[in-house]
Symmetry: C2
Subunit: 472 residues, 2 copies
Amino acid sequence: MSVAEVPRLGRPGAASVQAGRDALAGLLGADRVGTGADTLAQHGHDESFHPPARPDIVVWPRSVEEAAGIVRIALEHRLPLVPFGAGTSLEGHVAALAGGISVDMREMDAIGRPSLDDLDVVVQAGATRRALDARLRGEGVFFAVDPGADATIGGMAATGASGTQTVRYGTMRENVLALTIVNGWGAVVRTHSRARKSSAGYDLTHLMIGSEGTLGLICELTLRVRPVPPAIAAAACTFPTVAEAVRCAVAVAQYAIPVARIELADELQIEAINRHDETAFEVAPTLFLEFHGMSEADVAAQAQETAEIAAEFGGGSFAWASDEGERRRLWHARHRAYDAARALKPGSAGLTTDVCVPVSALADCVAAAQTDIAEHDLIAPIVGHVGDGNFHVCVLVDPNDAHDIARAEAFHGRLVERALAHGGTCTGEHGVGYGKARFLAAEHGPAGLEMMRAVKRALDPHGIFNPGKVLG
Amino acid sequence: MSVAEVPRLGRPGAASVQAGRDALAGLLGADRVGTGADTLAQHGHDESFHPPARPDIVVWPRSVEEAAGIVRIALEHRLPLVPFGAGTSLEGHVAALAGGISVDMREMDAIGRPSLDDLDVVVQAGATRRALDARLRGEGVFFAVDPGADATIGGMAATGASGTQTVRYGTMRENVLALTIVNGWGAVVRTHSRARKSSAGYDLTHLMIGSEGTLGLICELTLRVRPVPPAIAAAACTFPTVAEAVRCAVAVAQYAIPVARIELADELQIEAINRHDETAFEVAPTLFLEFHGMSEADVAAQAQETAEIAAEFGGGSFAWASDEGERRRLWHARHRAYDAARALKPGSAGLTTDVCVPVSALADCVAAAQTDIAEHDLIAPIVGHVGDGNFHVCVLVDPNDAHDIARAEAFHGRLVERALAHGGTCTGEHGVGYGKARFLAAEHGPAGLEMMRAVKRALDPHGIFNPGKVLG
């Protein structure tokens, strides 16, 4: 049984697939056109337990020109086209629901030399977040969007990803300056100049970000990078309740403290991290904090103000990460929260929710989720990008137990309903895929969805780009 | 003679206009349906000297429902519909090139109570920037986008406006959370939830921002506000050359100093400000700076670091604005740079350019502009949002002298050509209107323009929204 309704879409006929395969082999050579069973299976699923769906063909382009050639072949033979990055998406984004071509972007992983004047860097879509981190580290700059997974940068743009530093530095929307895409006619388009800002025509960059491969194929990205702050400090602080931790985060924002990270983990998540990462955090609702500043004094002042606010909400004293190594371990543990959560129940899979609400409603929404979890006897740790109003409940389920999945799914539905009632969204950063398509009507209403459908028809007139995703 | 090619568009027939007028009078009452010659003339032009074009009818809606009714009447009678705010646009945005209905939004000027938890506020499209400033001042928060003119917030969203604080706080794109619009079918759509971020479907908010009334009618906006910084300080610093001032600004960004404003004025602009505002700034290339911090010490540290960098580029000592009154006067003078410039040549109009280039190319582009100005004997002061790579040359012309206008226009063409060659854009913040439509093909290429046209056709299938703008 599925947690989400799998759209029933037709698949291309064998003759079209064969013709497309021949044309792709002519373009790329036979060794970059995969049709083996293992290859197809690997490319049909992501990290979620939504039912996978195999493509008919997998290809590995190495240049924008090759990517454009692939799109033109897909257009000619009316073959669906599903971009594939690291396969770390959580809503079935890469499942080839209507078969066709999976475009594995991982051989397009070049990372250019960052410009230290312009504070930007050009990367290909298949470069991963960690590879980019490593490349930038020696240059004194960093890329600020850090989802938990080691996703590809193209995939992060496609889902509108964000991360632990979004509270200060924004999501992919604020950190992608321009994209090079192949559009629905097979043409290469650069969506924006290299200027920091522009009012010259419609914002194709933001239209592509979060469109999950349904409007075009993202090939290259110009990213905004930032100077590594001269001083950084990280700390953990426990609170009597999750609600108090959340209220502390809201107050920190009100006082204009430019906190770089302010992340919530509930007791169960802390327990999971301690077990999985062999850490020894106090088991209590916790805020993990990071401060970036121009100097040690600057960071100390931010921390001091934050500590005073935390104390008002019952927060304990700050447990500081003593050096860069410890700091990295702290955030590594946070980034692996999903793995840690799953280890609480061996053999389980996680249904990870992603609602985002106005921060004024966050404490109530988290508390309601906790009550719901307790009432329905679920195992479901919580983490949250609380500065943004975004939190994840990871409901552990036996992926082979339909009843278990149905219970988790019912919880998810109630959670989203509460979020929407509070003016929130069903997904803050994971995207829709086909796993959340059923929530879009309630969130956007028929007129909003109709506008999105009109855009889809206009930019993908032949309906080849990732069918069945986002709009179902 | 026009500086821009005026699209030749058909106008609706008299019968359609009469029928639309009757229907509008039925909806709004006759007193909010204007057809007097003065009213029509006032609504046919903005602050530019692009040839005006009168609408056939002017209406003043007071609610989203009335705005939707107006759009439905426009659809029924196939009447073009041009949103009108403060009339401060600079590229002929509000000219009714195909006649029809000018929708004056100024009676929809309500400003809601800001949420201090969520740091947002809901405003109607006709509220002006200064009215919003005044409303927020007592609440301890501010809205960060500050173009020179006292534009309406709806108009600022429509053009993708920015301002002097964009270097730190972003443009309208980063400061509008959600819009309530009337779409091309006459339906009311809220483009986004109240959550800080979302990945739930296509980004209609950003698609509308910068679309200049060509994709729908913006009625209400949810804006991001920010706490007023506890400490603020402003200063002016002169440099031997414009290029050195620009290089200083680039270095300040590289050192991650979170400067809130860093604005260039060249000698001629300083002279203009001194004359117009009776100030006594030293006549030299100048950076106007502002620092926002958590404390006086924080601001002092930022200023100290900046002063050290400035000294490396030949900058003089900082002339500090001594108190809030002097600081406000400083920025008021900067905001009125356009008026000051025009006063250099009584009776003149200004052709204001708006290129934005990668900051690495900014010093060269400004220097090339200065050389060009000198070679062609133009009177043309320069101001720049140099932290963003955006600068304005205000070429003073006699609006009744075709030769003068042609020379200015030729200069504009060369300036844009250089900007595009450096990876920049023809407009950083003023938008396209019909004044810059001729540059879009060179900037976006045929495939990019075709995507924009497809979006236009999809969302405005009957072509009623602000015809002739953006895409020509």
